[in-house]
């Protein structure tokens, strides 16, 4: 029986240490070990994108990353999106466009959309739909989400 592994990583810019079993996903480590429950579990097999976080600058599904793989890396989660000054433009646009209903998919959509808009704030609808194809939402029908992301991009360019 493998023992616990000590992982030192950076979460939202702050050094974090946690103990985990090698089999535990980064998602499990964030939620159940570190206690950061903003990242959601949906399908737990990489299809739905609810658990999207950034790992070393790339968006990934944290259910398909082992916690031990975060050793020495940089993890960015939904908890790091808002600043002390207030909500991020993507969050504000989601609220104002009513781009969420049950909310389980929302952290994943926001992390993924923010990542796109930081390099392509003028992304068009086709690009946004393509980028977010790995994020599933069973409530909204996507239209309000796409409108919110377009709106957020305009805010970020202003």
């Amino acid at each position: 029986m493998p023992g616990l592994v000590h992982v030192t990583t950076t979460i939202n810019g702050n050094q974090a240490d946690f103990l985990c079993e090698p089999r535990q996903s980064l998602l499990e480590c964030l939620r159940d070990v570190v206690g950061m429950t903003g990242t959601k579990e949906g399908c737990n097999d990489g299809n739905c994108g609810a658990c999207t976080v950034k790992l070393d600058g790339r968006i990934v599904t944290s259910c398909l990353v082992l916690g031990v793989e975060a050793q020495g890396g940089e993890v960015d989660t939904i908890e790091g999106v808002a600043s002390a000054e207030g909500l991020h433009p993507v969050q504000q646009a989601f609220l104002e466009n009513a781009a969420l209903q049950c909310g389980i998919c929302t952290p994943g959509f926001i992390v993924a959309a923010k990542d796109l808009l930081e390099t392509e704030p003028d992304a068009d609808e086709a690009r946004i739909r393509h980028w977010l194809a790995g994020n599933l939402c069973r409530c909204t029908g996507y239209d309000k989400i796409v409108r919110a992301v377009i709106d957020a991009g305009e805010r970020m360019q202003a």
């Binding site: 089999r23 737990n44 790339r58 398909l64 990353v65 082992l66 993924a112």
Partner: protein, 291 residues
């Protein structure tokens, strides 16, 4: 998932000795997008996951006069974001940029796609038509296997216990050559191919005559299929709709599909014909520098 050990060796020799010591109880881990799902679902078992992402030989992209040496653990996005690789191998980029989601492409590797040996693996047909070779290291040293011989059945490949796929070697693209990959799915994104086809053609200097062609198929047999007769039928032929149609017919004949939830035998034969003609036309345009 049951308990496992995790190890992240930093040298190939260390990795191979760990693999050899554990036999079939060790599994390599690259992007994890297949193996973690399989372990969690009980479709594979392992005592040890060996993370290959800290081994230099598995993580490099080397492009030179000999072609492309692609480390087996290099993620899809690293392939399509490399402008020199994208310019030299657009047919490989066709596949690397449609596997899974953006999130999956941030982790999943071409080498992992090959090792997973799914009949539907999108990147396998272009690796085959581009003349790819698998560079394998293990307890008995190095060996090389042609990409079309690597997969031996659904989820099975030629790797013996203790062996690792280290890199995929693609020869330098021939002058006046082009490659394209297309798949059919009923959605726009995030689906498994009902059928997929890659075509590579090499034209003569005039761009009017096909010197050679290779055509490979996905999702229409227990392994990816090199449709040899279809490719060979084009050798020496002038570029024409008739020659392309005959290659499509022969490629469809080479397919051995099953009927399942994604499609029927009849539909898949038809798709191979259509996708072969389309990919040949794209590959010809690319060979002529028209796109």
């Amino acid at each position: 998932m049951r308990a496992i050990d995790y190890t992240a060796p930093t040298s190939l020799s260390e990795a191979v000795s760990i693999m050899a010591a554990h036999g079939d109880r060790a599994r390599p881990l690259a992007g994890g997008t297949d193996v973690l799902v399989q372990l969690r679902g009980g479709r594979r078992e392992a005592d040890v996951l060996l993370d290959t992402k800290k081994i230099p030989e598995l993580n490099g992209i080397k492009l030179d006069d000999n072609g492309l040496q692609l480390g087996a653990a290099v993620a899809c996005y690293q392939v399509y974001q490399n402008e020199a690789v994208a310019a030299a191998y657009p047919g490989l980029i066709d596949a690397a940029s449609l596997i899974g989601s953006i999130q999956i492409q941030g982790r999943a590797s071409i080498g992992g796609n090959l090792c997973n040996a799914a009949p539907s693996g999108d990147s396998i047909p272009p690796v085959i038509t581009l003349g790819g070779e698998a560079h394998i290291n293990g307890p008995n040293g190095w060996r090389t296997v042609a990409a079309e011989d690597f997969c031996t059945g659904p989820g099975r490949n030629v790797l013996q216990d203790g062996e690792l796929l280290v890199a995929i070697q693609l020869p330098a693209p021939a002058a006046n050559s082009g490659t394209a990959y297309l798949r059919f799915i009923p959605r726009n994104e995030m689906d498994i191919a009902v059928a997929g086809v890659s075509s590579t053609v090499t034209l003569d200097a005039s761009g009017q005559t096909i010197q050679s062609a290779r055509i490979a198929l996905a999702s229409v047999g227990p392994t990816p299929i090199l449709a040899t007769a279809a490719g060979d039928s084009l050798a020496g032929q002038a570029v024409s709709d008739e020659a392309i149609a005959e290659a499509g017919r022969l490629a469809s004949e080479a397919a051995t599909p099953i009927t399942d939830m994604r499609g029927t035998i009849r539909q898949r034969h038809h798709l191979v014909d259509v996708l072969t003609r389309r990919t040949l036309n794209i590959a010809i345009r690319r060979a002529r520098g028209e796109e």
